[in-house]
Amino acid sequence: MGKHVVAAVSELPPGSRRLVTVRGRPIAVFNLEGEFYALINRCPHQGAGLCEGDVTGLITADGPGRYRISRKGEIIRCPWHGWEFDIRTGQSWCEPSRIRTRKYPVEVANGASLVKGPYLAETVAVSVEQDYVVVEV
């Protein structure tokens, strides 16, 4: 495991996502209202680029025909067969304990601490004035 700088915080505003490659793994990083989450960009069903699907809310119901949407922007829907995953946990909606996509720890670190290490900034140029998104892979 190593900590990898994948983007400056300023490049990943709330509601956005970015696909990066870390140690050869395709990983999608999401900003949900200032909190960052990272999921492997591979659907546990048949391997689609999960994080290229639509980001939506959670649709539930108070009874037949009574729709409700909550947690807007927190659900990713696989572009191939529509399975829904919780961006915060990587768990599927249908079978959260059995079907999940891999999740990686994310933190925000400032440039000054990054320059000291032990971070690996392979593709991102780090400057001391900025904050960065760091994924542990």
């Binding site: 939506t56 649709i59 539930t60 119901a61 009874g63 037949p64 025909g65 009574r66 729709y67 409700r68 067969h81 529509g82 399975w83 829904e84 909606w93 249908c94």
Partner: protein, 356 residues
Amino acid sequence: MNAITAGAIDCDIHPGVPGIRTLLPYMNDHWQDAFVSRGADDFDLASYPTAAPITCRDDWRPTQGKPGTDFTLLQSQALDAFGTRFAICNPLYGGAVAVSESMGAAICSAINDWMRDQWLSRDPRLRASIVVPAQAPHLAVEEIERLAGDHRFVQILLPAAAELLYGKSYYWPIWQTAVKHGLPVGIHAGSMFRYAPTSNGWPSHYLHDYVSQSQVFEDQLLSLVTEGIFVRFPELRIVLLESGVTWLPGFLWRHRKTWRGVRAEVPWVDRPPPDIIRDHVRLTMQPFDAPPDPQVVAEMCDMIGSDDMLLFATDYPHWQFDATDAVPIGFPPDLLRKAMFDNPMSAYPRLKETVA
């Protein structure tokens, strides 16, 4: 007597309705007059032509009259021969499918009273379904209310193909009344023929019509689940009668697979559809539709994924098997015990009132 089935509860037998003349004493003046003056008779279901092999096994065919109409024959062939403890009578006749709502209701009421008079009161092993005019849910509710107090009626009977899919709100009053009285609803193979029996028009042959019956059962299950009927009426229990069995595992798998991708369209279906169906739906075991291969039969039972769903039935006098071989070869013995007794007892709570 068949020792294997001794003490079993037979969840699907068919006493035959001889015709309108038999039902006249159970009709009011108006309908007696109307049927006689119009000469209207023969409301037998097109789904079960009297002379067709499926409608009656050769050695069960009475020398006179229609299949299943002879009381003592039915006693010896359907009850004594299998050692049956209880058998549930599902009369199949035109009241439930007539185009006229009020005429349909009159025929259904007459059948229910005739059933009570001529069958239930003559053999304590017999129980029956309430036949209702499915074409008029408000009249169906009246009929259920009229008879629900007699606990020898243990179920409400509907045809598999009706005027609308059973998940539509039109039918809510029937589900509500069923739940109110603790009555399961039996959905029996057969059609009102308001539409072609296949989703792509009229088939040319009886073979096609009968084999394709499982499609409409799939549609009705899909409708009940996706419209949220089991959410609205959590106590509702459905029994599929003469639906066949082995189509079920593939259907459950396909239902679940597709639900995973599009479940947001029906978010009240908040758990896998097969789990909902396993909780709310039962099936009678004839026809079973598997080769006489113990391994295949055992695998099929396993794939259904529940020991609670199957209910023993002979489907008398319909021709599904020969002699008294009502149990598919290789049917797992533990499961058979449940299907013959425990499962019917829990599917039909009213049976418990007689059995200590």
